[in-house]
């Protein structure tokens, strides 16, 4: 934009075009697999087979796979479960992570190093599956929706990221707030949080994607069919092609069309969230808070 009033050489422009070309190529290669999934989900399976398994632009469209998937009660239900654990879970994650990271970022917190050590320790070591299962069972969370939220309510790594973000906020801000009579909670709520939108969004997205892809805890802690999240159900549909099950005469092997439709249903909602959060990734951290 600044270059508008400068005379630009023809080489510059060629150079730009080459860059555009390569970027477009990289962009296409990222879209290609997604396009394949989408097209395969919309094409009758016979058509897919006829073309050797690859379809980029479907010739005949069919929404049968989506209709059939959504007509089963378990997919909409699983969708509800996943949305619940994603929204509520991310909310709880962010509150707890902030409440942990903020005190740890204050240098004058007594015993800060010891607490930090505890946090880092859990990053490197954990109790293993069986003891964790015992705790989840002991707290009565087994077979409840909370079993997929509470055990991972705080991820230590995110605490560290958030903590170092808070540490980078200028000390002057805190001093100014304190001089005006603000107490710790007010500083956190009115000074720190508004400035921390980028890190909140980033970490929120980490948590959110984690919840959306919830699988392991659901398999381990939840046997109630009505509480299965989307990924468990989708995997159930996709995996029917495995050796052991294909030997079963009753098993209805879903076509590639069905499988791809399940993939689309499971991944598109979370992909749609990205563009809204992306701007925060690139935004400067402290736009306009300190002048001079």
């Amino acid at each position: 934009m600044g270059g508008r009033n400068l005379v630009r050489g023809i080489e510059d422009r060629i150079f730009d075009y080459i860059i555009y070309f390569f970027l477009a190529l990289v962009g296409l290669s990222a879209i290609f697999p997604l396009l394949f999934v989408l097209s395969a989900s919309l094409t009758p399976f016979g058509e897919v087979l006829k073309n050797g398994g690859y379809i980029l632009i479907p010739k005949t469209l069919t929404f049968d796979a989506y209709k059939e998937l959504l007509s089963q009660a378990r997919i909409p239900k699983a969708f509800g479960v996943t949305v619940f654990i994603t929204v509520v879970g991310t909310f709880i994650n962010l509150i707890l992570t902030t409440l942990m990271a903020y005190p740890l970022s204050r240098k004058k917190l007594p015993g800060r190093n010891f607490l930090l050590f505890i946090v880092v320790f859990t990053l490197l070591f954990n109790g293993g599956i069986v003891p964790t299962y015992l705790i989840v069972k002991g707290t009565g969370l087994i077979n409840t929706i909370w079993a997929m939220i509470v055990p991972n309510a705080i991820w230590s790594f995110n605490v560290l990221i958030m903590k170092s973000f808070f540490e980078n906020l200028p000390e002057d801000l805190f001093e100014a707030a304190r001089i005006d009579g603000a107490k710790e909670f007010r500083i956190l709520w009115q000074i720190v949080l508004p400035l921390s939108l980028p890190v909140m969004m980033t970490i929120g997205l980490f948590y959110m994607v984690g919840h959306w892809n919830e699988f392991f805890q659901a398999i381990m802690y939840v046997t109630d069919r009505t509480l299965q999240p989307l990924q468990v159900v989708v995997r159930d549909i996709l995996l029917q092609n495995s050796d052991q099950l294909s030997a079963n005469v009753d098993n209805m092997v879903p076509t590639v069309t069905m499988q791809m439709a399940a993939v689309i249903i499971a991944s598109v909602p979370i992909i749609l969230v990205y563009p809204f959060i992306q701007k925060h990734f690139t935004k400067g951290m402290l736009l306009g808070s300190i002048k001079g």
């Binding site: 399976f45 006829k50 009565g140 969370l141 929706i145 509470v150 398999i219 092609n241």
Partner: protein, 504 residues
């Protein structure tokens, strides 16, 4: 310094209490709905049976008619849950944590392991309570779940074999050749399929034979009277292991000949699950070793016809060789699954009764029809005592088998549910096969089947691809015996099969 220390303790306590508050408030609201596995103090009218097994495609409870009907029949809640590939993990964690389901699927190895740890209920003293189950599955099958004369599980009776070679009849017709009946003819036809452009598209894009790894060659091993690598079987009344069968080398060299002439799917050893099926449907392979459901069920026929309306697959009898013809190896000792009850359930007789009631019910005439064919009047109708399925069965019946805790009368079941495929079912079931006894042999200590299997499969593939000369076959067997301790397996097989009276 001291002040800092106290401060750190205080903040730690605060943090911990924050967690506890967060957890306990949730527990209050939702904890009450969890199943109480200890079961004491529970009112008997509200018994909840939790059943877990491997499997998939179980619908939501309100769509699950079998669940509803079973609950009506036995007067207890029946909560089945299935996971596919993570099942063993899930089961191990739950058993290790002492959180037992009331009925769970296991395999033979798990019966051995778990019963040794005292986790499984010994059913022997309860045998008369599950008499209908015993009558339904037969004494033979009860025996399969025995460890030291104690029955630790309910055996799901074995299935009949489904696999055969299938060949493209339209290709045979295009080339004007006959279906092969001997191994030599099989090679000739496979070569013709590879080189003579059987689909008439003018491109050299076809192959003779495909299948899932070594299974593609099952009938060729059979033609030499050799079981698949690793199998134990009887030959002239003597127990033989396939690696020591003198005909094994002949079989391998014949297979090598097939591969050398380029008539075999070049990716045959990497075909997993049903990849070979998809490839065959795409029209590049003329002969495939596959089970009838995966090539004759309506959905698949439709797929085949969409790709090529002229494509016609027919069953091909196993080729004849020096030992006659055998359509591969079929293990007569295995069972697809077993269902075990945790020992802990002894302390809850009311619940245990319900589990027995459930098992008896699915073994009774009425209950067994329910878990096979669904609800009478909806999924099937009875005409002169014969089950006639409706369209709804084909539509909804894909998950019913998950409730067949005591199996089903296989032949009758298949013929009823897959009436259109009857001739293929019978044909596959009638084929002579080498009857392997591996299922009767428990893995001995000191032998790691996973390692050994990986080793011998790799080496067999090297032999048939000519990467290792067959003259080194004896070295291979020697390594298998010593390094992989296959000798332990051989001794165990000999002893256990003799004890069971299967070998004299």
């Amino acid at each position: 310094m001291r002040k800092r220390f106290i401060g750190s303790i205080i903040s730690l306590i605060l943090m911990v209490s924050l967690f506890l508050v967060a957890c306990s408030s949730k527990e209050e609201t939702t904890g009450s709905s969890t199943s109480d596995s200890s079961g004491n103090g529970e009112a008997s009218e509200n018994i909840e049976l939790e059943i877990i097994s491997g499997g998939n495609n179980l619908p939501a409870p309100e769509d699950d008619v079998i669940k509803q009907e079973l609950e009506k029949a036995i007067g207890a809640e029946v909560n089945l849950s299935v996971v596919s590939s993570e099942y063993d993990n899930q089961l191990n964690v739950r058993l290790a944590a002492g959180d037992f389901p009331d009925l769970f699927a296991v395999n033979r190895q798990q019966i051995l392991d778990f019963s040794k740890k005292g986790l499984l209920l010994d059913l022997t003293p309860h045998m008369e309570k599950i008499q209908s189950v015993v009558d339904f599955i037969g004494e033979d099958n009860v025996t399969k779940a025995k460890v030291d004369d104690k029955v630790f599980a309910v055996t799901v009776p074995p299935q009949i074999p489904y696999n055969t070679y299938w060949i493209r009849k339209d290709w045979l017709d295009n080339l004007g050749i006959q279906a092969p009946t001997t191994v030599d003819e099989l090679l000739a036809v496979a070569s013709a399929f590879t080189q003579d452009d059987p689909d008439g598209n003018g491109k050299n894009d076809t192959y003779g034979i495909t299948g899932g790894v070594l299974n593609a060659f099952q009938p060729i091993f059979g033609a030499y009277g050799v079981g698949m690598p690793g199998s134990f079987y009887l030959k002239d009344g003597e127990l033989v292991n396939s690696f020591y069968d003198p005909a094994m080398k002949d079989a391998l060299s014949t297979i090598k000949k097939f591969i050398e002439s380029g008539v075999v799917d070049p990716e045959v050893v990497t075909n997993t699950a049903l990849q070979h099926q998809q490839k065959a449907f795409q029209g590049q392979y003329g002969i495939i070793y596959i089970d009838w459901p995966n090539i004759t069920k309506e959905v698949f026929v439709e797929q085949i016809k969409t790709v090529n309306p002229d494509a016609e697959w027919i069953q091909l009898r196993a080729p004849e060789g020096p030992a006659g013809y055998f359509d591969g190896t079929h293990d007569i000792g295995t069972a697809p699954r077993y269902y075990a009850i945790p020992k802990e359930l002894e302390d809850d007789p009311a619940k245990l009764e319900k589990v027995f009631e459930l098992l008896n019910y699915v073994s009774s005439d009425k209950g067994s029809k329910l878990v096979q064919y669904g609800v009478e009047g909806e999924h099937f109708n009875l005409e002169d005592g014969k089950v006639v399925p409706t369209d709804l069965l084909a539509e909804e019946g894909a998950y019913f088998w998950l409730y067949q805790f005591t199996g089903r009368p296989e032949m009758e079941y298949l013929k009823t549910k897959f009436a259109a495929q009857e001739e293929y079912i019978e044909y596959a079931a009638e084929q002579p096969r080498i009857e392997a006894l591996n299922g009767f042999v428990d893995i001995p200590e000191g032998y790691n089947p996973a390692d050994a299997t990986r080793y011998y499969e790799e080496e067999i593939i090297k032999f048939i691809y000519g990467e290792r000369p067959l003259s080194e076959y004896e070295d291979f067997v020697a390594t298998l015996e010593s390094t992989f301790n296959y000798q332990a397996m051989l001794d165990a097989a000999e002893q256990q099969l003799t004890d069971k009276g299967l070998v004299k």
